[in-house]
Subunit: 408 residues, 2 copies
Amino acid sequence: MACIVQKFGGSSVASAEHIKNVADRISNRVSQGDSIVVVVSAMGDTTDDLNRLALSMSQDPNPREMDVLLSTGETITSTLLSMALNDLGVDAISLSGAQAGIITDDVFGRARISEIKTDRIDFELEKGRVVIVAGFQGISSDFDVTTFGRGGSDTTAVALAAAVDASQCEIYTDVAGVYTADPRICSSARPLQEIGYEEMLEMASTGARVMHARAVEIGELYDVPILVLSSFNEDADGTLIHREITMEQGNKVRGVAHQDKVAKVTVRGVPDQPGIAVHLFGPLAAANVSVDTIVQNASVEKLTDMTFTIAPEDLTAALKVVNEVKLSLGAMEIISEIDLGTVSIIGTGMASAPGFAALMFKTLYENNINIEMISTSDIRITCVVKADKVHDAVNALHSTFELDVVPE
Amino acid sequence: MACIVQKFGGSSVASAEHIKNVADRISNRVSQGDSIVVVVSAMGDTTDDLNRLALSMSQDPNPREMDVLLSTGETITSTLLSMALNDLGVDAISLSGAQAGIITDDVFGRARISEIKTDRIDFELEKGRVVIVAGFQGISSDFDVTTFGRGGSDTTAVALAAAVDASQCEIYTDVAGVYTADPRICSSARPLQEIGYEEMLEMASTGARVMHARAVEIGELYDVPILVLSSFNEDADGTLIHREITMEQGNKVRGVAHQDKVAKVTVRGVPDQPGIAVHLFGPLAAANVSVDTIVQNASVEKLTDMTFTIAPEDLTAALKVVNEVKLSLGAMEIISEIDLGTVSIIGTGMASAPGFAALMFKTLYENNINIEMISTSDIRITCVVKADKVHDAVNALHSTFELDVVPE
């Protein structure tokens, strides 16, 4: 008996009607003999509504209480889906994160799973029930409700798939899979049949929002095949995220990712001595500023420049920190720039073939797009460009690397 | 250090603004040095909204899932109130029924409390925190969420007051206490300073909706003084429900209660033999028809009439049952009447003083109100009258028994 985990996101369960459609879909799958664990998100805007309620109580709501409050959104969906399945004659039961045995640390708002005790899930599956788990939530060892932050229900789904040794984790979203580029800005973008975990991680961290990096990391760690599917188009095949990439190897770039808005901060003329990075990025991390890309240029006359990118909404906080440490770093000047974006090409094949970077830079040059900053990993090359050039860059690169061509 | 339990009902926490007012009120109380456990209901119409959602999934939602769904309403209020208190600098923590150790049987929708394990509450109180418990809910020994049905948050509050040995349980409502009669129909009605448990039970079961009978029963069993207060009028003294009635003894009738709508069913000409009541009321109970008042008249030529009152919405179900058993009972005829109501006078002093019944009947007669049926307990006399005469009857009796006169 194959056990699979299916996760339905907020847009898939946005209304009562949506939830009934999801129930129909699960019911069909049950009749094929699969044993199913379902993970659900909160309905549509529920989480936003609860956030607003909390902010009407306090500008800085207590994090423990916030987690209990937000967790009710997923709980509500789980009970409604269970009712809808029962109404179709399918035996089903909803479980909270706590009941599903999802034990976490006690870092409210971004808790991490430490252990999953599957006794209750196993018990219910053995009874032949569909087990519906409220996503995004767990319980600390002190018996307090915790939540996982962004992408939390994906994390629940992949972690549960690992814990119950599911053959596959299916993530139902409002898109037909992982695309070669964002189809909203690149008309020739197409869904990938498959992608590796590392590639997916690079796609997620550079703007492809279809799956949260954290869930992909768990999938990689426990070797859980993740199939990303559309809730709304049953005919689409979706994208399989897994370890062995067997097809499409001829095309070494897997996809183009982008970020519409980033900000850049440059600390100029810093005396080049050990510890600069520690004294700059330590305080930024303490101020909860998440730094995307860091570039340090070659030292000229023992002075160096340090540049990093951040989300535009973090710029004020970042400049405050940087100005505070400017003196101790001995820096000459702080320069910041907003209205930037990034474009990245991603693919495992690139590591051993240096021609990709050159072809990327040539493509941008020929399209009159200036590169403000470059950063690379083994399987990714990212260029920072002006925000108003991002969409042009995505389309040009998508065409250059022949991502519009469906592989044989 | 006095420990008190305060319960705020749905109208007291109907909006964000209401919840902040409740937080202010609790904060003031904390500054007086009291140790406080708070029980909250769901905000305003939340429970109705959740019910509607459930019915959109299934005409007959799974009861276990229903309980999980409904319990989120109280949970949300508890977190919001905790945030508001934290924002005022008052250390507070919200607990679900499960976290508060409220263990119940597994009868979903109308679970009964079997035990309260107060370890977590004690721990939080010792830390000097206000403990906010989500009302109306508990957890079964199988770790499933249960709810208590109507008046559930009152039940939580009084049961917790008993468990933590609180000096008093304060019930905040949208009225200023328990009235001598319903102030909406009797302009001279006034809040009572105090009332006995038994009297309150009779008031509740014959129409005074300010507190649910079940909570009063627990209060009586564990001798918990219950103070019913207005959320919206801090100057009102409220009504103390307790064992020792020390004042107002001169006025033996404590209050007038009424029900606007009841239906009456008479089974006529039943051969008078043992077991009639069993064969009639057993099937009615099995069909979930709750019977209020039963009268069996004297046997004439070995034939007797059996009359009972029910809620009008149960009449169809009741007639179905009665017609099914008519043959086996050997009854001649089934008569039913709708458009009836009840009026009751209640007071512990009445048991030893037979003049009250006579004065009640005389008052109704002088006001041209015909009595359709009479039933009595030690501390209550109830008359069934035409529905359109109920309000006249309440006002006439309120005046006759001098309930408008404030005691010295």
